[in-house]
């Protein structure tokens, strides 16, 4: 019977919430949470172990985490690793992709995962790892998990894996020959006729246009430059008056920097749903370094600081909302003749 390891984060691995995101890797010889469910859905294998690691730990100390995982896996027999599903959880998706790639490279075993298309893990790992298309929230567990289990089962059973669209994984950029009914010249001609007639057609080869942005000119004289600060850490005045969302944000806050030149504990809080707020709430300046900006203004190291900072939540923020919010922020910056921006994420 083929043996499977399931990789989960601290939450799905039932260790705890955000406060446990720094949990170091552990290997349990049991089926924890999602792992148990996956096990019931697979016929060609059996889940023997659950590998759990905190989302922050694996992201902030990747080399160390993987080394620890390698120690834990010493002497363990397994045929496949299944990670997630990760939905739109950015840290988790990135780690799922990461662990799958590592398992494939180091152990030459197949590893598969599932996540939402805008999860950063997709762009980072889809070329090397089978990543199944998932939905954007954990409420879709009963949809995404069976798809992932079925796919894994196919591989374990030695079945032929078809192309991306057919199987439901993100295209890996690998081209394989298949024979269809029509020859290429006929297919091309049909496609052209449809395009000329304004009818819908499906390209056989989607070409992704690179979306590079030209590097803006360097800031050569900060002492005479006007700066602004933006954060996606979700730092807001206590009580979150603008009700900035904890995830999937559609708006940002525009907050005046206090006259005193510092952000005080108790007056600000974090509402970002993707990290432990303990540190941000104890000292908001670990996300918004106003004390430094104030000092630098006094020292005349920077010419000017825009009196407002812009704050939203960079957790599951989709591309279109991000673009729109950026454009709105840009209007404010232009009004104040800002010349350079410092932006931080959590």
């Amino acid at each position: 019977m083929k043996k499977i390891i399931v990789y989960l984060n601290q939450f799905f691995g039932q260790i705890g919430g955000e406060e446990f995101a720094s949990t170091k890797p552990m290997l349990k010889k049991e089926k924890v949470g999602v792992a148990a469910a996956i096990d019931t859905q697979i016929k060609n294998g059996e889940v023997e172990h659950t590998l759990i690691c905190g989302d922050d730990f694996m992201n902030e100390h990747t080399e160390e985490a993987l080394a620890q995982i390698d120690s834990l896996l010493e002497g363990i027999e397994f045929d496949m690793l299944i990670a997630g599903p990760a939905f739109f959880a950015g840290r988790y998706g990135t780690n799922c992709g990461r662990i799958c790639k590592h398992i494939q490279e180091r152990y030459q075993k197949t590893a598969v995962t599932s996540m939402y298309e805008e999860n950063p893990g997709v762009e980072l790992f889809r070329k090397e790892v089978y990543i199944l298309r998932g939905e954007d929230a954990a409420s879709a567990m009963q949809k995404d998990m069976p798809k992932l289990s079925r796919f894994a089962d196919k591989i374990l059973g030695g079945e032929k894996i078809l192309w991306a669209q057919e199987e439901g994984y993100f295209p890996r950029g690998k081209r394989l020959q298949v024979t269809t009914g029509e020859t290429a010249d006929n297919r091309a001609f049909d496609m052209l006729m449809r395009k000329l007639a304004g009818k819908p057609f499906v390209t056989e080869m989607p070409i992704k246009m690179p979306d590079k942005v030209a590097v803006a000119p360097p800031v050569t004289d900060p002492a005479h430059t006007r700066f602004a600060f933006v954060t996606t850490s979700g730092i807001v005045p206590i009580g979150n008056p603008d009700k900035i969302q904890t995830g999937s944000a559609t708006r940002f806050g525009r907050y005046a920097f206090p006259e005193e030149g510092v952000l005080k504990e108790g007056e600000w809080e974090s509402i970002h749903g993707g990290y432990d707020h303990t540190y941000a709430n104890a000292d908001p300046m670990t996300h918004v370094p106003l004390d430094v900006f104030s000092k630098m203004l006094k020292e005349e190291k920077i010419g000017y600081l825009h009196p407002f900072f812009y704050s939203t939540t960079g957790n599951h923020t989709n591309e279109s909302n991000s673009k729109r919010m950026a454009q709105e922020i840009v209007e404010y910056l232009k009004e104040d003749n800002i010349q350079a921006v410092i932006l931080n994420s959590a």
């Binding site: 980072l124 707020h277 673009k323 350079a340 932006l343």
Partner: protein, 77 residues
């Protein structure tokens, strides 16, 4: 990030999850201390943390002043 730079503003992305920023195509990336604490490490004393914040903002200014032709990652550690 990219949207702000498209409008002509020099910008630096201070973030801990560098690979994510890289994959999106950000031009200037400066590595942060941690996910729940980008600008300073809460394991240090408040005095040391203020120094860390200062050093990191200083580096951010240097990064903004650096001429790069392509995506570049910077770090103070």
């Amino acid at each position: 990030m990219k949207e702000i730079e498209k409008s002509g503003f020099p910008i630096v992305h201070v973030a801990n999850m560098v690979p994510v920023s890289e994959s999106v195509g950000t031009n200037k990336i400066l590595k942060a201390y941690g996910i729940p604490y980008p600008w300073s490490d809460p394991k240090e004393t408040p005095v040391r943390q203020a120094e860390q914040r200062y050093e990191l903002v200083e580096k951010a200014l240097i990064v903004l002043g650096t001429d790069v032709q392509e995506q570049t990652v910077f770090s103070v550690f």
